[in-house]
């Protein structure tokens, strides 16, 4: 059913730490690796070794340069996948019931057997979290590795989404954001986790942790005071060169 279920008490989702993400794209690759051979049809590539390669991914890492008014620019890596919104517009627009939100844990999934490939859910998602697979012609999206997190055949440490399991910098956390005492909820509260595009009214489950404040660069060179000051008006050959070049047209005497 594409009517949204009443908000679940369990809200499984991700917390992504923009402070520690190093932009290695390992989550992108592990996501593609797991999801191309598990839930649903494979994530196809088009012309993968040719001149114009493209393909379906459920997770992508953007990089942004942020320039504070009075400090050096920061480079912030920004992984983005489905946010498993509480008020998911991608679910209600679906005409067939293929796009749905699970009542028990809030995961948003696509039943690919019922998907007609109209693409309207991808239009409705403000985040660009859904991609139509060009080979299978059905909509693909993050499943929160629903086939890992409940899979008792896996070791306990592997029962988390593939992106979380693989992240080498510990920038991705998985848990129940509906439980205020869960580790992820405490992390969000402590670090001031935020929603993406709150004005779109989608109430995303996934949260992002802001980069920590950077130290202001300080003059810590303890030897500097002991060094001789640099001559402000050059003498000798350099002085002659400076004067001669300065009187040429365009010079600055």
């Amino acid at each position: 059913m594409t009517q949204l279920p009443p908000p679940s008490s369990v809200k499984l989702g991700l917390v992504i730490d923009l402070d520690t993400c190093v932009g290695c794209h390992a989550c992108v690759i592990s996501c593609k690796g797991w999801n191309t051979e598990n839930y649903g049809v494979p994530l196809s590539d088009q012309d993968p070794y040719g001149a114009d390669p493209s393909g379906t991914f459920l997770n992508r890492v953007h990089s942004y340069e942020v320039q504070p008014p009075d400090a050096t620019a920061q480079l912030i890596h920004f992984p983005k996948s489905c946010l498993h919104c509480d008020d998911a517009p991608c679910v209600t627009v679906c005409p067939t019931g293929a796009s749905y939100k699970r009542a028990e844990d809030g995961i948003v999934l696509v039943n690919e057997d019922a998907c007609i490939g109209c693409g309207l859910c991808a239009w409705a998602c403000p985040y660009g979290a859904r991609e139509m697979d060009a080979a299978a012609k059905v909509m693909k999206k993050c499943t929160l590795c629903v086939d890992r997190i409940y899979n008792n055949n896996l070791d306990p440490q592997d029962q988390v989404p593939a992106c979380v399991r693989t992240c080498p910098s510990g920038a991705r956390h998985f848990g129940d954001l509906g439980d205020e005492t869960s580790a992820v909820s405490l992390l969000v509260a402590e670090r001031g986790g935020f929603d993406l595009m709150p004005e779109q009214g989608t109430k995303p489950t996934n949260k992002y942790l802001p980069p920590r404040l950077k130290d202001a660069p300080q003059d810590i060179d303890i030897l500097a005071p002991f060094l001789a000051p640099i001559a402000t008006d050059p003498k000798g050959f350099l002085g002659w060169l400076d004067r001669s070049l300065s009187i040429l047209p365009g010079g600055n005497p």
């Binding site: 340069e65 627009v93 005409p95 007609i116 490939g117 991808a122 998602c125 660009g128 802001p210 980069p211």
Partner: protein, 290 residues
């Protein structure tokens, strides 16, 4: 947004077809027999032909019947119901007119209402998208209804309705184009809200996640041809509304009427291309577009 030819053809011709069915349903013109057959054939060719074109847009058209299931939440599903119900009602109404010279007045009104409903639900598919601020406006369903009613009146030969409706539709389209460019800014979604990094400073997309194209960029970050937008808008208003109104004001002949219809369709096609090509999706912000 990507201006897929199938969707442009669908919205243009189905809009005209259902617009004509609306006028036939209320008995303007009040025709029977062979004349009715001609009118209904034209309207069904356009309405059904447009709907067929829209199925080319689907990845799995063989599953299209499932699209009737979610009418409680989905405007696309509601559109499917309205279209099929409207076409069935108008088929019975038309058959009675053509073969029995009998005008089933109530059934005609019902078919007219369902035809309008189809146009409205089509428009709501676009209007409901908060992610596309240019469409997320009450003017969108107003525009779709104005296009269909005016084009339908033109096809139905209802000159006294067609002239004011075409003028109204042209003015409404002009207003939407004049104000459309500011809709994205008014919606308030920026790269700062998209990334949540605005508190730190000004944000610039430094590196995209992938070096090649992808579905998102092809489908929702379409930018080709915007540089001709103003010229196309002028052409569309002239062909779609200005020229037909002038031709309708001239003494009636079938030739001027035919030129008016062809000109109107060309204008509507250009307007629909712009409707999609000019619409900006907020997702583009993540790629530093907009």
């Amino acid at each position: 947004m990507h201006p897929a030819p199938s969707v442009i053809i669908f919205t243009t011709f189905s809009g005209l077809g259902f617009g004509l069915l609306f006028w036939l349903g209320i008995g303007l013109p009040n025709v029977t027999g062979w004349v009715a057959f001609a009118f209904f054939s034209i309207s069904y060719l356009m309405a059904v032909g447009g709907l067929m074109a829209s199925t080319f847009h689907l990845g799995h058209p063989e599953r299209a019947l499932k699209a009737f299931s979610q009418w409680r939440s989905s405007w696309l599903s509601r559109e499917a119901w309205c279209a099929v119900a409207g076409l069935l009602a108008m088929a019975l109404y038309g058959a009675a007119l053509i073969f029995f010279d009998n005008r089933l007045r109530l059934l005609g009104f019902l078919g007219s209402a369902l035809s309008l409903g189809t146009i409205f639900t089509t428009a709501m598919i676009y209007t409901q998208l908060k992610s596309v601020p240019r469409w997320n406006q009450p003017t969108t369903p107003a525009l779709f209804l104005a296009f269909s009613l005016s084009g339908g009146a033109l096809l139905a030969g209802q000159i006294r309705f067609a002239i004011p409706l075409l003028t109204l539709a042209g003015l409404l389209q002009g207003y939407i184009w004049a104000t459309g460019d500011s809709r994205f800014t008014q919606a308030g979604t920026t790269i700062a809200t998209a990334t949540g990094l605005g508190k730190i400073g000004s944000i610039r997309a430094f590196e995209p996640p992938h070096t090649g194209p992808n579905y998102l960029l092809k489908e929702m970050a379409y930018i080709v041809g915007r540089k001709h937008a103003r010229r196309l808008q002028f052409i569309s208003l002239t062909l779609g509304f200005g020229l037909p109104v002038i031709l309708l004001l001239l003494p009636f002949s079938h030739w001027t009427a035919l030129i008016a219809v062809v000109s109107h369709i060309a204008g509507i096609l250009a307007a629909r291309w712009l409707f999609f090509a000019q619409a900006e999706h907020v997702m583009g912000l993540y790629y530093g577009k907009r």
